[in-house]
Amino acid sequence: MGDDLLPLTACPDPDPDPDPERSEGEGKGKGGRVHPPSPVPLPALNSTHVPIDEPMSEAQPASKHDRQVAGLSGGPKTNYASAVKNTAPAEPVDPKADQLAADLLVIDRVLAGHRNDFGLLINRYSDALYRHALGMTGSPDVAEDILQMSFIKAYQHLSEVRGRFDAWVFRIVANACKDWLKNIRRTHLSYDEDDQASSFNTPEEELDRSELRTDLDKALATLPASLREAFIMKHVEGRSYEEMADLLGTTVGALKMRVHRAREALQVLLEEKYAG
């Protein structure tokens, strides 16, 4: 998802009131969740001066407990660790830890009553999740519905987030897609081509591409959900096997096997028409 992430500061804050209770020293949110230490006194989210996910140079010292709760204690050293020793040379920053911390801050604000801040999380993750849902269902309308339902579900269960929000909300969307595939046994799927922006030049190219688009969707629809999911994550979403394993809770080897089997099945279906 890394490429898709919008900086939180790029998102306009529809709820501009800063929370005075959180002006210094992060601790527990309304839900009693403990967060990694706030890098700086929590800014109003609409502030352009102190972005929420700016490099954490003035972080409060993190207690061992804080880092354990944030799932950071066993992993690579993060900027939190470097924040403890301000005199130490800069250590490599773990972007995932930064993202985790930024998401948890937003979640805490939402749980504290700043409902519209949930829009920051939607902005941040909706493109990648939409692509997943679109790849899995083949229908822009269904993908949008799934995204809407999934974000509402995520909002309703927001206090249950432990660890990475992006992985948690991805699982909600992925499960919704699989449920949809189970319930709707469709033999073929097609894109609504009117919705697709065209970037091709000649009518021949356009026709060829749109044919491939339709045939690829049809071929994908014949794959079992697990193979289709793996193929979409690898090829359409451009994720690494490690990232996929992290999100799906399985091994890199198993995912490679699924992707390879998906490719072989697709190749059989598409080869005659498109190869050579």
Binding site: K30, E160, R209, L216
Partner: protein, 97 residues
């Protein structure tokens, strides 16, 4: 070595090189070299990859954020109270004297 076995080996090598290329672990050149004459599958996957790249640039529809925000319930659920620890749930037994 029988001809069938040799053919199988060639196919396996070609398949391995193709997947390695698609996984980003090998070069297109190696995939083409190991593929059957004409490298038809390499051409197929280049076209599929171009279509996949187009899909990678898809964005969520305009207005989705606003629609979701409008549909959110008034408040998220509040967390359940923490469960008592296993040790405190266990009945305390007094040591036998």
């Amino acid at each position: 070595m029988m001809r069938d076995e040799r053919d199988d080996q060639v196919v396996r090598r070609g398949t391995y090189a193709l997947h390695a290329w698609l996984d980003g672990d090998g070069s297109e050149w190696a995939a083409r070299r190991a593929a059957a004459p004409g490298a038809r599958e390499v051409e197929l996957w280049k076209r599929v990859e171009a279509e996949a790249a187009r899909r990678r640039s898809e964005h969520a529809p305009e207005g989705l954020r606003a629609r979701i925000l409008a549909a959110l319930p008034a408040e998220p659920s509040q967390p359940a109270p923490p469960r008592p620890r296993e040790s405190s749930r266990r009945s305390k037994r007094l040591p036998r004297s």
